[in-house]
Structures are given as C-alpha cells and as structure tokens.
C-alpha cells in the first residue's frame, strides 16, 4: 500500500501525457517495422539461409547491470553502449547471417542513453529490414533510477519484411498487481519475410520469462510451440528461436549457489528452498523437460545430445564465469545443414548470452 501511495505523485505527473504511463498490448498487434538508412546488396540465394539467434543484453556487453550479474549500475554512458554495439556489429559481420533473431534490444531507454539499437544495428551491419516488438515499455520505471524504458525482441534480415506481428505472452502470476503493472510484457515476434521463390517464410523471435517462480514459463513455451505448430499445419516455412530461459532436457537445473551474489544464502529450508529467481529450473513438475516437445517435433541448430554438453552452453551471469547453461535455441521445420549449428562461445564479453547460428536448407 505504501508503494502505491508513493507512486501516486509520479503518476500525477505523467498520467496526462500523450502516451500511457505503462504501455500495454493487445493479444496480437502489428510490430514496428524498420529499414536501414542505406540498403546493402542481397547476395544471390544459394538454397540456404544462415540464421542467428542472440540475446544482446541491450548492448551493454558485460557491464555490471544491477538487474543481473550482481551488478551495481543502472544507467550506462553513451560511449559504453556505442562501444558494445560496435563489437556486436563486428561479430554479426563475421557470422554473416541472412536472418537474426534478437532478444533484449533497447530503444528509447534511459539505461542505454535512448539509442535506438534496432536502427543502429541496421545502419551498421549488412541487414536491411527489421521488425520490433516491445516487451517492456514505460514512460518511467520509478525504481533504481531506471527511468524511461523500451526494450524488446527483433527480427532483422537482409530480405524485405512483408508484415510482422507481436503475439502477447501471459504475464507472470507470482507478482503483486503494482509490480506486474510496471513489469515486462513478454512476446513472440513473428515476421513474414520475402525470401525469393517463397511466399510463406516466417522468422520468429521469442524471449520467455526468466524469473517467474510459477508456471508462467510453461505457458510461454506452450504458446511458442502452438505458434510454430499452427505455421507448420498451414504449410508455412519457419525459423524460430531465442532466449527460452529453459535448460535442455537432461541438463543441470540448479544454479542458485553458482549465481549467488555476496551475502546471498540459498537452500536453507527443509524443502530445499529458497531458490534464486532465474537460476533454478525446477519451479514446477516438468520444467526440466519443458523443451522436449520442441525437440521431438522440429529440427534444431544444436541437437539435444550436443545441447547438454559444455560446448554449447550459452549463458553465464558474469564474464569471469564460464558459460554454464544453455538457454538459447533455434528450431525450424526445414532441414538444418549438417554440422552448421554453432555456438559462438568466444563472444563471452559481448553479452551474457552467446550467439547461436545454423544454416537451413530451403529445398
């Protein structure tokens, strides 16, 4: 109740502006489309497309953000963000993808100096088109100095995006109403891309909940799979992926002690709790095998056998900790070129997630 009262005065200032205090979304609505300032030539199709999925941690590299990594910072300098984006762009140029599925891309956010990272990446890579779907948009988050925020998922491609839609994912149900109001609204971004000689090609970027302690993650993965199943049933071709915040079946599920910050103590209760939000993958009965249906149904960049090995881990909470779990995936209903699945673990300073790529065969 005290939180509600203290926020009243903030709301008073911004409630009557031309935009809402916190932006909410319809179940399905159009995504925001972008074009590069200058177009780059699209290479002649060679019957295959290189797909890249990457959570770029809003272009701050490994800087100690307060929301993760035991960090103590909220607002980065323009130079810090630009430097990090330059390295991200260089890595993208090296991988040379045709389609990128991004998560955690900022635009109009105080924490990253309001840089429109979608436009910046378009203008500083060989990509030509992008679609953006916000997962966190507010005039101000009156906490920790976060201020204005707009962050979300992106599909970026050399080929024209014909249309794109934002599909809302269920909100967390383990938060009070006020926190939920100001919290993330995660989504699936589905973009129809004009691939030559194909009229039904889609790219899908997803970012599932990280910190929910209820079964919200189950709902997110179920919704994601339903979207893919509907496309497959309709005869569409898709590549889909992103940060599912889930470990592959058979992988380690408890990272509480590994991720603990100084002074944190976990696993002291009789039932094994408490656990660190985002670092524990057994919050509900079948969470450890949450991704099994996706593996059972679709082709993937990294096979399940390989996914549980250290070579394909894609996340660690700080750069001085080696990649210790896999959270990032690519699925498709086309064939994946043999040996093309790659986890770029050398990119450990570029984000808290490693980029993952593969080549899909169009015929």
């Amino acid at each position: 109740m005290h939180q509600v009262k203290s926020l009243f005065y903030i709301l008073f200032i911004i409630l009557f502006s031309c935009e809402p205090l916190v932006t909410t979304f319809e179940d399905v609505e159009e995504a925001v489309l972008y074009e590069a300032k200058t177009f780059t030539t699209i290479p002649a199709p060679d019957n295959a497309l290189t797909i890249l999925s990457w959570n770029i941690r809003f272009g701050i590299g490994r800087l100690p953000f307060f929301g993760d990594s035991c960090g103590d910072r909220t607002v980065m300098t323009e130079k810090e963000v630009m430097d990090a984006l330059e390295i991200v762009a260089a890595k993208i140029d090296t991988i040379d993808p045709d389609i990128i599925l991004f998560q955690e891309v900022d635009r109009e956010s105080k924490r990253t100096q309001y840089i429109d990272q979608v436009q910046w990446l378009l203008d500083h890579t060989d990509m030509n088109y992008a679609a953006y779907a916000s997962m966190w948009k507010a005039q101000t988050i009156p906490s920790d100095g976060i201020g204005r925020i707009d962050a979300g998922n992106v599909v970026m491609t050399r080929h024209e995006i014909e249309s794109a839609e934002r599909i809302e994912l269920p909100l967390r149900t383990d938060q009070d109403a006020l926190t939920q109001m100001f919290y993330l609204r995660r989504n699936i971004l589905k973009a129809k891309i004009a691939i030559p000689d194909m009229d039904n090609f889609y790219a899908v970027s997803v970012h599932a909940t990280a910190f929910a302690t209820d079964d919200t993650k189950q709902k997110h993965v179920n919704t994601f799979k339903n979207v893919l199943d509907e496309m497959a049933a309709a005869g569409d071709v898709f590549v889909a992926g992103g940060d599912l915040n889930s470990v592959p079946p058979g992988a380690e599920t408890d990272f509480c002690d590994k991720d603990a910050c100084e002074g944190d103590v976990f696993h002291t209760d009789e039932d094994g709790g408490p656990h660190l939000e985002g670092s524990y993958f057994e919050n509900f009965a079948n969470e450890p095998t949450l991704l099994q249906p996706l593996y059972d149904t679709y082709n993937t960049a990294i096979s399940l056998t390989a996914a549980v090995t250290a070579d394909h881990n894609t996340h660690s909470t700080s750069e001085d900790r080696a990649w210790d779990r896999k959270l990032d995936y690519i699925f498709t209903n086309k064939n994946v070129a043999s040996e093309s699945g790659t986890t770029f673990q050398e990119a450990i300073q570029l984000s808290d997630h490693a980029p993952v790529s593969c080549k899909i065969i169009l015929e």
Binding site: H2, Q3, K5, S6, L7, F8, Y9, I10, F12, I13, I14, F16, S17, C18, E19, K37, F66, D72, R73, T74, V75, M76, T77, E78, E108, K110, T112, Q113, Y114, I115, D116, Q119, W120, D123, T140, P142, S143, D144, G145, I146, G147, R148
Partner: protein, 256 residues
C-alpha cells in the same frame, strides 16, 4: 510515508518554483502572509519587498526568494526577484535503490547551489487585468562533478534541474491575471526555459487557472499545466519533444 513526502517535495518544488499567482511584479503589502498547498509561503517583509520560501522543501531543498519592487509609476510596476536553492539533500534522498529511486544509486550527488535572478514588469491594462512579462537567468555552482546520465527526464523536473548540469539557463515568461467578477479570477501564463548546449534544451510551459475567492483570506484554484519540452534522445536523434498536460489544484490562505 517518508517516500510520499520526498516525492511530493520534489514535485511541489517543480510545480511551484516562482510561479502560481505570485508571478507578477507586485509585492505583498507589509506584514501580509500568504500560504498555499503548493505555492510558496509569501511574506510582505517591507513595503515593496517580499520574501517567499517553500515549506514542503524547506529542509530537503532549502531555498528562499526575495522580490524587490524598484519602480511603480502610472500603470507600470517593475521588480526583480532573486532566489537561491540548495537541492543536494533532496536529490540525495531520491538517489537510491528500489521503489522511489528516481536517480540510480551509482551516481554521486555533489553539494550544489543555484541562483535565479528575474526582472518582472507588470502593467495594469484596466481595472480587471494585469499583464506581466519577465526574463531572467539562473546560475548553478558545484555541479561540475554531476554525471549527465543522472538526470530525471520528466516534465517540469528535467528543465528545472538542468541548471545544475549546464551551470546556467535562461528563463522568459508572461502572465495575464484577470478578474472575472467579484468572486472569480483567472490566470494564463507561459514560461520558456532555454538551456543552451544541453540535450533537451528547451521547455515551453503554459498554465491556465481559475480561482474562486471564498473570502479575502481563502482561495481555491483549479486548472491545468501544459508542458511542451525537448528531452534527451539517442541515435539517430539527439533530442525528442514531448507534450504533457497535468491537472492542477491549489488552496491558499492569507493573514495580515
């Protein structure tokens, strides 16, 4: 309760700084006091000299204003106002982790002082109307170590605190005070803040208020404030403009 007070204090400072119905060149008669919920406490310290201060921020953002009347001839009154503010305690209180943290705790808030100097000229247009024009400059000292990333990018607040980041700013304005009848008056004003050399370098504020004078000692005012301001932006732009409209209410008491 502490959080409520802190934020209310910050906003009352922003909402009422040198404005409201005290925006003319006229000074209170000697010995008269006026109190408002948001507007400053005003005191006619001497004939032609008025002292005012903000009660909500008296401890967290100490400050005071002296308005001195220099000329009163025919229909014209010319005055100058001089204010000094020490915002450091209030800004330190909102620099914190968690709810209510308007500034990230990673930033240091140094000791800073600002001085606002304005010249005001009021002309009695007829028995019912007073037109006031004003111009001035604010200077700040001690803000050189203040990180530019620590700004609070909200209407009313950003452009008033900008002086501490930029060391100076210019302010221009005009007010029209008018009487509708025995019990009702209205105020229409406009203020322009210019902060040369800083991102988000201007704000145009306009206010409209109607006041019901229940008696000579108690007024109720209702109205709105519109802020069209430029704020910091990033690639591909340097700045972005936004419009906000806020409802306003105030209660004022006076005594001789």
């Amino acid at each position: 309760m502490k959080k409520i007070f802190l934020i209310a204090a910050l906003l009352s400072q922003a909402l009422s700084q040198g404005e409201w119905l005290s925006g003319t060149a006229h000074t209170l008669s000697q010995g008269r006091w006026e109190f408002g919920l948001f507007q400053p406490v005003r005191w006619g310290q001497a004939e032609g000299r008025e002292v005012s201060f903000y009660k909500l921020t008296a401890f967290l953002m100490p400050g005071a204003t002296v308005k001195q009347r220099w000329l009163q001839r025919y229909d014209w009154t010319i005055s100058s106002s001089h204010s000094v503010y020490y915002p450091t305690p209030l800004l330190k209180m909102v620099t914190k982790p968690g709810i209510g943290g308007m500034i990230s705790p990673e930033f240091e808030i140094p000791n800073m002082v600002s001085v606002w100097n304005m010249v005001l000229a009021s002309k009695q247009l007829n028995n019912d109307k007073i037109l006031t024009v004003k111009a001035g400059m604010a200077l700040a000292f001690g803000g050189s170590d203040l990180a530019v990333e620590s700004t609070i990018d909200l209407p009313l607040i950003y452009h008033r605190l900008a002086v501490y980041y930029n060391n100076w700013l210019l302010r221009f304005g005009s007010d029209m005070d008018s009487r509708l009848n025995e019990k009702w008056t209205y105020l229409v004003d406009g203020d322009l803040f210019i902060i040369p050399g800083m991102k988000g370098s201007f704000a145009l504020e306009h206010k409209g208020m109607v006041t019901w004078e229940k008696s000579s000692r108690f007024h109720i005012s209702l109205g709105y404030k519109m802020v069209y301001g430029q704020y910091p932006d990033g690639y591909p732009n340097e700045n972005i403009t936004r419009l906000h409209i806020l409802p306003m209410i105030d209660f004022a008491w006076s005594r001789e």
